[in-house]
Amino acid sequence: MHIHKYEKIWLIFGVGSLILFLVILAIGAFYKGVHPPSHMDTIDPKNVQENESFKEENLGLRQVGENEYIVNVLSSGFYYDLGKDEDGKAVNTIRIPVGAKVLFQTTSTDVVHGFHIAGTNVNMMVEPGHISTLETIMQKPGTYTLLCNEYCGSGHHYMAATVEVYEP
């Protein structure tokens, strides 16, 4: 099939930039190891306590290294279970020092939820039967909102918690 000369130039330029673009994505993904959250472990959604990370006493923020934290969260309609404080009250705010390495782990006990610390790249889907994880370094101090960004029912827009990133 004959293709017009200008169209050839246009296509070579376009396809060339496309290839360059995909190569950049691939370098990010396979050389730098930056993939979107894709954790493969499964769990029984009716019996999440079976899994060490989601036992009641392990929920919420835990320090695991000098500057390393794990945050285990149970997502369900319509709140994030971040464990209990000393008085036995449900925790709704977690505080993380700036620059710390944080591993978020969450799963759902009912329907599909979202897990987004708004304004950051901590953004993943939470599905019953699957564990979602994401490791990050919180770079900017501030008060962030952790919220559900996948529709989960009538109280969906109330499903939120607070994440404070502070200068130690």
Binding site: T42, D44, V126, E127, S154, H156
Partner: protein
């Protein structure tokens, strides 16, 4: 060679018009829901009569994304097929059966939404569970659309038999590609609805495999958007050249780009599931690469459009570098509306590239940015082209004229729509980048300052939404005026001819077996391994949660 075009007899016009009535009534009802959503989200309005936000959002999504689009497209495509290859009495009967099946399905689903037992949004993600008639209605819509598919396939096959050795008319070729795409894509959603959702919602099985249902849904969900876009491209490629007094730049390239859209719009659903657990990131990446292949036919299309415009302008004697732009009929709404739609595709497509970029998706996933994005793609590019089509299609079917007054009103409508969308979609994009979630009623969340920064943009969305709704009222008025009010006369059904300079179309472009074979091979390549993986690593299934949607 000149193609012969057939007249559209009354009986066929009635068939097409039946689809159009449903489409434009949907536009009004769905648009009203959209307006109410922006009001609720502004924080200063509560819905009356115990109506829920997610109830109207479900209605908005279903009515506009599924009903309006499907009815308009199928109606329009029947008109194109009648015009180019003809419609026999038997085929017309089956077309009507398809129409009624879809309509009954629509009414069943809509009435379930009205009762508040299906507040699951138009994507109906399991394990939120709606009342069974919601899913049964949707299944009927799909089955009805399949009847239309096979009617269209039959139309072309019959024509081919009596035109041995001739290449099929361009528009008929395009319609058949789009219906093939639709048929192959809807197999996924039909599978999940028929095998998973309906038995589960009826209580015949206890649990549902969530990730399998989502994967089947998105196997359908992305080609769905190309099913909307391709009819717009039909108008761009084969009708607008006529309206501007030009010719089709290249028949072969037009067909090639449609074939490429067929091949590369299906094996890509994972780009909607990028942040989901349980799917191997390698396969996500592979589908991301396949996603970007549609850039090639998009580049072909962009080139063809501008080449057509320039050639038409130059043939009218404009010789300077950009002088030909002046030669275009900007005051003809049949040109103006779709061209504004085309321009909207520049930011819309750019946004799409961001969305599908493996890693960058995480920045915007499920934020209101995404809503801003598809109000540009389907809500502007596609819809404005559909409006542009209506200005000649409706009068030519009803035996009336597009009056000067309606032409002017149409131009005003286009401007109103673009202004409203610029404000609404623009503020959605910005708020999304700031983290504001989509599919959410008004909320201040935990009261953090951060959330305050979103509220102003939500107010702006209400302003944009109000302007848009004025646009909808205008358009619905124009539609009914063209049906009942406009003076009797003859409106033309513009179909362009191919430029004399264009190269002949190679035979292999009509090798259906080849294109369908490659399409299926690509789907099998992209899905077989990850799908088996998903099934083999399935967690225990989920029971339904009706309680959460009350």
């Amino acid at each position: 060679m000149m193609e012969k075009h057939l007249p559209i007899p009354q009986k066929e016009a009635r068939l097409v018009m039946a689809h159009m009535y449903v489409a434009f009534i949907s536009l009004l009802v769905g648009g009203l829901m959209g307006l109410l959503q922006t009001f609720v989200r502004s924080g200063s309005f509560d819905l009356p009569f115990g109506i829920g936000y997610y109830q109207i959002l479900t209605a908005h999504g279903v009515i506009l994304a599924l009903v309006l689009t499907t009815f308009f497209i199928i109606g329009f495509q029947f008109a194109l097929m009648s015009k180019t290859v003809g419609l026999s009495d038997k085929q017309r009967l089956s077309a009507w059966i398809g129409f009624w099946t879809m309509l009954i399905g629509t009414l069943l689903t809509a009435s379930t939404i009205l009762t508040g037992k299906a507040n699951v949004l138009y994507t109906f993600y399991a394990p939120l569970k709606a009342f069974p008639t919601f899913y049964i209605g949707l299944a009927l819509v799909v089955v009805g659309s399949w009847i239309a598919c096979f009617t269209n396939f039959r139309q072309l096959a019959v024509w081919k038999k009596s035109h041995k050795g001739e290449k099929s008319p361009l528009l008929a070729f395009m319609v058949v590609i789009n219906m093939l795409l639709w048929f192959i894509a809807t197999l996924g959603v039909a599978a999940t609805v028929l095998i998973q959702f309906i038995p589960w919602s009826l209580g015949m099985v206890d649990t549902i495999n969530v990730l399998v249902s989502r994967t089947l849904f998105w196997y359908f969900g992305h080609p769905l958007v190309y099913f909307w876009l391709l009819p717009a491209y039909m108008a761009w490629y084969a009708i607008i050249p006529k309206i501007i007094g030009g010719k089709i730049f290249s028949d072969a390239l037009a067909r090639l780009s449609f074939v490429l859209f067929l091949m590369f719009s299906i094996p890509v659903g994972f780009h909607h599931q990028l942040t989901e657990p349980g799917i191997d990131p390698l396969w996500k990446f592979i589908q991301v690469v396949l996603t970007f292949m549609v850039i090639i036919p998009s580049l072909l299309t962009a080139f063809s459009m501008f080449a057509t415009f320039e050639m038409a302008g130059r043939s009218k004697g404009y010789t300077s570098l950009f002088g030909w732009i002046k030669a275009l009929p900007w005051k003809d709404v049949r040109f103006f509306a779709p061209v504004v739609g085309m321009l909207a595709f520049i930011p819309a497509g750019t946004g799409g590239i961001i969305n599908a970029s493996h890693q960058m998706n995480q920045v915007i996933h499920n934020t209101i940015w995404v809503t801003g994005h598809f109000h540009l793609t389907v809500g502007t590019t596609v819809i404005l082209t559909f409006f542009g089509i209506s200005y000649w299609l409706i009068p030519s079917l009803t035996g009336r004229k597009l009056t000067k007054k309606i032409n002017t009103l149409g131009i005003i409508q286009t401007i109103v729509w673009s202004a409203g969308m610029f404000i609404m979609s623009g503020s959605m994009h910005i708020a999304g980048l700031l983290g504001a979630p989509r599919r959410s009623a008004y909320s201040t969340y935990t009261g953090a300052e951060q959330v305050d920064t979103w509220i102003g943009y939500q107010l702006a969305q209400a302003i944009g939404g109000t302007i848009l709704f004025i646009g909808i009222v205008l358009m619905v008025y124009i539609f009914f005026y063209m049906v009942f009010g406009a003076p009797k006369g003859k409106a033309s059904f513009p179909i362009a001819e191919v430029s004399e300079d264009a190269e002949p179309t190679p035979q292999y472009l009509e090798n259906w077996k080849l294109w369908i074979g490659i399409t299926i091979a690509l789907i099998l390549f992209a899905y077989t391994i990850p799908f088996i993986d998903i099934i083999q690593h399935s967690p225990p299934g989920s029971e339904g949660f009706e309680n959460l949607i009350r």
